[in-house]
Symmetry: D2
Subunit: 381 residues, 4 copies
């Protein structure tokens, strides 16, 4: 067994998402973390490396050096994981691609549509693998939902209702030293979107992923309920979809009582589906005129793809990490296919690709544009 060599940019001590990526990468034992630019503070970077069991000689103070040195090694990293604040994604991704390194990048992709489009072009030119961790698409029952829609079990879609309420920014956490809050509420680091970028893009991706339809236009009402904040902490958006469905998207980081309340409901003319992230091991299926059915992860009546996305038997709850790890597992399949000289692309899989990242940035921009105009319809190319 020859594990895939990972390098990480960001994700030093105390980081949330960096650790998630690491645990997800370990679950199936397909990767090993061998290098990192964990922090721009070089002593923190080295300390993080030590804690993580990474050779301190491969703990880099900056990602440029990391790209250069690792590219020069025979046993250099094959994949770079980008888990920094948003404003750094673009440069880091470009640098890694230039060095011939595959990339797994956190969302939202970058902070402007211009950068997004440019990065997409770079990815295509490079021929390298590039994933964006819209991780909720990794849950087995989200994939089941997508398959059911695609198979026509819901009939023609009419409505797509997605919401993503949280409450961790209900008070001014960014003024109390919470790092996660600081950069996410700072336009210089987060980009144009607050809740919109941080979680709205997840909801947007999930809605398109499951419905199989694209959003063609939207109308947004963005609010900033906590005083002194400049980015939205609440977004309500009406959506029109390519296949004729209508819907709404609500993202909020001030909705007290919700920890991580991503929820999707899709209604067709034959049946409907409901899935909630906080209860991810069940999927409600409601055919017209029949009793409601509760599908369970790895339970009866699932499509193969969904069953294959499970690691444990039904009744043994899987959670956030396992869903996340599904993206890592499939990315590993791609890397190994490439090692074996096969022509495998991210778009051949269910992994969110750079194009999905671009769409997310367009979504943010369109919503901001709509809201700034007072709430008018805005098309989404």
């Amino acid at each position: 067994m020859n594990r895939i060599r990972l390098g990480m940019i960001g994700g030093g001590q105390g980081a949330f998402i960096g650790n998630v990526h690491r645990m997800a990468s370990r679950l199936d034992d397909r990767y090993e973390l061998v290098a990192g630019a964990f922090s721009s503070d070089s002593s923190r970077c080295i300390e993080s490396a030590r804690e993580l069991g990474v050779d301190t000689a491969r703990a880099y103070a900056d990602y440029q050096t990391m790209a250069q040195r690792e590219a020069a090694r025979e046993d250099g990293i094959e994949v770079a994981v980008i888990v920094t604040p948003n404003h750094l994604h673009f440069d880091i991704a470009r640098t890694m691609l230039s060095a011939g390194i595959h990339v797994i990048c956190d969302k939202p992709l970058v902070t402007s549509v211009e950068d997004a489009v440019q990065l997409e072009a770079l990815v295509h030119t490079s021929g390298l693998l590039f994933a964006v961790t819209y991780n909720y698409s990794g849950y087995p029952l989200v994939r089941q939902a997508r398959e059911m829609v695609a198979a026509g079990e819901l009939g023609t879609l009419r409505l797509v209702q997605v919401e993503y309420p949280q409450d961790w920014l209900a008070t001014k956490a960014e003024a109390q030293g919470l790092k996660q809050a600081e950069w996410r509420t700072d336009p210089a680091r987060a980009g144009m979107g607050g809740s919109l970028g941080d979680i709205g893009t997840h909801a947007f991706h999930l809605a398109e992923f499951v419905s199989g339809q694209q959003v063609t236009s939207l109308l947004a009402e963005l609010d900033c309920f906590v005083e002194g904040r400049t980015l939205d902490d609440n977004a309500q958006i009406l959506l029109r979809y390519s296949g004729g469905a209508k819907g709404s998207l609500w993202a909020s980081q001030v909705a007290i009582g919700h920890e991580n309340g991503l929820r999707l409901r899709v209604y067709g003319d034959k049946a409907s589906l409901e899935w909630q992230q906080e209860d991810p091991n069940q999927l409600i299926f409601q055919p017209l005129g029949e009793p409601r059915r509760v599908l369970t992860r790895a339970g009866a009546g699932l499509y193969r793809l969904s069953a294959e996305s499970s690691r444990l038997p039904a009744g043994h709850p899987e959670g956030f990490l396992e869903g996340f790890a599904n993206l890592y597992r499939e990315f590993a399949d791609c890397v190994e296919a490439r090692r074996a000289g096969k022509d495998r692309h991210i778009t051949d899989t269910l992994i969110p690709a750079v194009g999905d990242g671009v769409k997310g940035v367009r979504f943010i921009e369109a919503a901001v544009t709509s809201a700034r105009a007072g709430g008018v319809w805005q098309s989404l190319r």
Copy 2:
């Protein structure tokens, strides 16, 4: 004991809502049904009277005759209950008020803002009691929610999310001989609103009732998903409230899987509340930074008003009828106060008054106006 004498217009054999009114009126034994114009078909009217134990001499083929004859009797009806299709409400109500009879009228009040305003004036002039059965406000825990908001337990409100999905019109039921569906999808009888008028107005009233704020403007997206239908069967509306809250309202009669899914969520800067009509004996209360609490009807920690709106101890489920009956009980208190010469008004109670009915009609009209203009903001006076 001297029960209050009721007459009913509409509500003959096979009617749903007429029977609900009758059961609700009986629960506390404060009323007796003594007359009716149950159907415009006179033999059906008489048969209904027989079934209901009403003296057939007081079964009238038309409401005009009923108003006239009953007003002339010493033991004539004191209260008229209007449970016909919407387009008849106005004339019937006017006739009853002219005859000096109190009115309980189903919602929506009438089919145009013009009629609504005129009816409101007639009510005021008459000095009579007039209730509109936005019955969901009668549920004990809805009242608890209202009291909690009013007492400041939620702090300053930020968001009001209300939804009312149903699925009974997911197919073209009106073409299959279902009377309930026929008139509700017919603009001539239902008015401008389809799902908007039938259930959207309930959701609208509930949101204002609990939040204590008025909707000042809205933006609506109305759809008609079932082919050949002319009134909306789905409505998605963004709302702005007088106190600064924002929110959305979703009403649908094509949302497969929902029987009668009215649900309200209210978020302040201190806490939030959630209530669902299909699970009416519990109310979720979520204070910031504390575990979620589940309040139960007649359970621990309730305001007096809510406890008084219960008939059974906690754990003995109350439902739709008991909530409905609370309006009837309080209306009976008003009638008896009037009998005793006291100056009691509907607006002294929690019973929805004619003014609430007017608001509901304005809401329909504004939503239709907004949607027809392609989805633009519309103010609601």
Copy 3:
């Protein structure tokens, strides 16, 4: 319409169950309450009559007088409703039967097996209608469950798990002036069983009602957790059923957190069912190897009997009163059949009959016998 004339014994001011019987009897407008021995305190009796709209001339200080006088009137009561503490049931029931009056009696039937057997004989001899209000069997979805078992949808039954936890006696409420608690914890008035008699018998009846099997033997562990109490406030019982099923029954009035938590689960070799009284509008059906299904009251896929036991469409919650009222409605059908000279018996219906009352008393006695012997198996004839 000629309403059935009711007299009530017990159920005066402040009573819980008396009022439940009255509301249940009013719901379908088939009865009128015309007489009562509401309290042995004659001024309270008269005051209750006044409040209830009963002619005070027919408010009797004792039930013997009531039986005698009412039997002598042409418009005398046809049905006596017994809602006193348990120790009075026997004498009252006997008196009413002797006077030719049908009886609706609260549970448990009487306080000894001897009395139970004697009363059963009296009922048979009299030819009169006699119901015992094991009211939970009136819920539409309980009836649906029974029909599904009878139709073989669960296959051969293996397990019957029933529990009925409450918490209202978790502290010594009987020492704090709570009348409901006083007599229920007093062996002189309640009989041999505490929680066993008050709620255990409900659970026992429900288990037999739905499973269609009889308990043949049991082993009981009875506890009295609150100091100074002499009757059980907690009962745990293992059960063996006539058809080979096994099971357990847990009744508790000290299980903090449960208001009225009656819950039944029945498992066969093909499927299982679950129903909870506090959420009575849904029934979980789980066929082997298929997704769980949620049946809703008046919803899709129900047996006729269950649908007919509903008054409202699906999604409009029915509760405790409606279930209770189903027994009253069917009892009314029996009375009217008798008026019409038809040979209709309680055992022709789903209404719990005197024989069910006898069984409940046998159950209490067997459980007490088992527990007193230290927890040994006891047969139940």
Copy 4:
């Protein structure tokens, strides 16, 4: 970083629990799997090693050889993980301890009380670390529950209700080639208990773990519902606890509709708790006379121990693997303490120790004895 070297006995291709142990051991990156006797079939063993990235030179056809050779290496395994059928646990554990290797052993410990007691003595003599994977005690909210009981938040305990229904043996799966079913229903490999040993012991451990009380006596009803099976597939047990609490335990592998339904409810005289394994991220806390509270993993109001047992923020579901991994993490702390020459014992932690394993075996034996005698009380030393 110097990862702890693991060897595994059992857990070859297609195994369920072996893979769970491996994933759990990887989550925090504290272990590496370096050797294994994955299967007694030597070619399968080698193939498993290859798949798992284990040097095939360290893939042993038998555990005796493995113990001997690994003990002889400087970089030999430090910990042996035993995931074979039950009947092999004793010999393997003894062999590993003799070779100076720490042990993590799956449950139930062994197949007789005699062996259990002997093994316990060997562990004590050896001074080595020995854990039994009653993994449900690793869930953060189970630990929270234990802390709350210990802190007196429930008052004096009255009732402990634990149940563990599954349905995977509802039909004769052992006759259809399902290996997991074959050995678990075979007394020669599983021991005296069927559902009792496989899942009953989990429920038993959980009840004692959370309640802090020991079971002093029990009475069991064991059934074998599937024809031709000789070990119990259903167990209903009444329990008496050392601190005066009473309770019941139900374990079933034929309860259709339950995937892995472990559920614990603990009632004191001040409050109660409820936790369900299939919904492990919430814990219901119900103080007397107050609204029910829902505690969430990593949410508000938790004890430190519980918070420290979490890897993800609230709302990001953790599941079965994370709970399992907590035992591995704490075992790693013990191993590292030993490496550092510290005197650290399993009993200093929350990890189930050999003594807990012994208790589980005593529980099985006592239940079988009780049931064979027709259901009589049996003391548990």
